[in-house]
């Protein structure tokens, strides 16, 4: 009987030992924050734009894809696709931003972070009906038939073209199509510790995004044959994104 007890205790200890996780993991919280000229961006408030015009935003959103931490030459992919809605009507929400919580991140120091703005080509060849309703790619309001593409990024608002504080021109600048899928990379070392959370802010400055974009001349842009306006916007993305820890 005594031997049996020892055996049983040994088995329990062995079992407990084997329950200890092999991989050390932490969590990472990313706050995506929209700003305009460095200030938290609230929708339905005006900001100075180019040539004395005033601009106000009514909707800001974008797909972020293949979010990964880089470690030497390998990628730790944390999120395949996320629809980031940055439309916040009050200051507190704008300062908080869109929060993305990532769990099960292997603990180590990474070399940097990488993600795409838009929908990668392998997913962009599909249509919303291909996805369950829980997937952001199921949203038909983010698919444009004329491009056979998801809408990667929506920047919508109104422009006061006369400078009289009366926004008189609505604009909706949407990006899309495989050619405009953009991958961004940042190389600050990011340390994930076992059992702990790491906070990161990714700040997007819409003044920089719209630099050189002639909104007045092209307030809507769904012509599949004319992507000049949105190409300017997409080319501005690397300069508009900043990362803070």
């Amino acid at each position: 009987m005594k031997h049996l007890l020892f055996l049983l205790s040994g088995a329990i200890l062995l079992g407990l030992t084997s329950c200890k996780k092999d991989v050390e993991e932490g969590t990472m919280t990313i706050h995506f924050k929209a700003v305009y000229d460095g200030q938290p961006l609230q929708t339905f408030t005006t900001h100075p734009f180019e040539n004395g015009q005033q601009i106000e935003f009514t909707h800001l959103s974008m797909f972020v894809a293949d979010l990964a931490l880089t470690h030497q030459s390998s990628l730790e992919v944390l999120d395949d696709i996320e629809l980031i809605d940055l439309s916040f009507e009050n200051l507190a929400s704008a300062e908080e931003g869109y929060t993305l919580e990532l769990t099960g991140v292997p603990a180590r120091t990474y070399d940097g972070i990488t993600f795409g703005i838009g929908v990668p080509p392998d997913l962009n060849e599909k249509v919303p009906a291909d996805f369950p309703s829980s997937n952001p790619l199921s949203k038909t309001s983010y698919y444009w038939v004329g491009w056979s593409s998801y809408i990667f990024q929506k920047t919508e608002g109104k422009l006061d073209t006369l400078g009289n504080s009366d926004p008189d021109l609505g604009f909706a600048i949407h990006t899309g199509s495989d050619a405009l899928y953009t991958t961004l990379e940042g190389d600050p070392a990011i340390t994930i510790q076992d059992g702990k959370n790491t906070n990161i802010d990714i700040v997007i400055d819409y003044k920089k995004i719209l630099q050189g974009v002639d909104i007045k001349a092209s307030p809507q842009n769904h012509n599949p044959n004319d992507i000049a306006t949105i190409t300017i916007l997409v080319n501005n993305l690397p300069n508009a994104f900043s990362l803070f820890q």
Binding site: S87, E89, P132, S138, K139, T140, S141, Q220, N223, N225
Partner: protein, 372 residues
Amino acid sequence: MSGNVYKPGYYTLLAVLSIALASCHDTIVSGIDPSDDLTRIPYNPIVYNVEMPADYPRLEQPQDNPMTVDGIRLGRKLFYDPILSVDSTISCGSCHSPSLSFTDGLSRSEGVNGTTPRGSMSLVNVGLHYHGLFWDGRASTLEEQALMPVEDPIEMAETWDRVEQKLRKHPDYPADFRKAFGIEAIPMIDRFLAAKAIAQFERSLISGGNTRYDRFIRGEIFLEENEQNGYLMFFDLNPNLVPDAECGHCHNAPLFASDGYFNNGLQESPDLLGFSDTGFGSISGLQSDNGKFKAPTLRNLVFTAPYMHDGRFTTLSEVIDHYSSGGKTSPTKSEFLYPLHFTESQKADLLAFLLTLTDSTTLTNPEFQNPF
């Protein structure tokens, strides 16, 4: 489209389950008044397989409410039975008639206590709307939605407590609920099972797949020139040839609806708080959503007049005129509404395309009709 029965291997499983249930009978129902006992009635659920057009999204069903033949049969009865209203005059079907593609032809629907603030929405393909129901999105699921009209003081003005009593005392419904959900005793009939049954029936209301538009997309037919022009305008497919009508942003294929909520320029407001009907804003709690409403499906819209949430437009021509004008000004008005200045010819082309979305078989589908 119609439904049929999915059989392979299921009967065997059901037989086993039925036997197991039967063998448990004595222990499960002991203590139940014999007059309430429903276990003598067979419970043989048969999965209802909905035939879906190939390009439609998958019809998602809650795990706790899969569609069955008897569930839909019960839901259809409840849908058309005025027993749900306080004076037995109004049923779901009163405002959602299949002959009008599940609308009622009124600008604002009539309930037992007067006129509702908004018109009835078409229910075709309603089971595929996963991002809110009603014009303002106040219900998340069909099960949740089905509970609401009964206790609405204008629509049915009844209480679910009383409806449950009426259903329990009814000569037929207890057996129907037993067949649909396998309940063992009459007191188990409740509002939640009733709502589940109605939701099952509503999920079965699939329309489309063989309209002129659908056949055109599949390459089976050519559209007429005016229809084709309207198609190009609707989706902005050839802006060098025809103007962009900006329709596809809110009414995207294949359902010609959207997961979003939009202000389509029906209300004038100088600021975010000046809307007489705040719509989605009253549900989201965000001022920036004031004046926005669900974009309804355009499939079968020829049967769903009058149009808009308040039924202000009697004809489709009036609707097209409204969008051509750019609508009324307010802070939340969609950026896609601005003066488009369509010519009469372009308006006619757009209308011709909209009519290619007509599926008149939905109106006469025997599986959708009032069973009483």
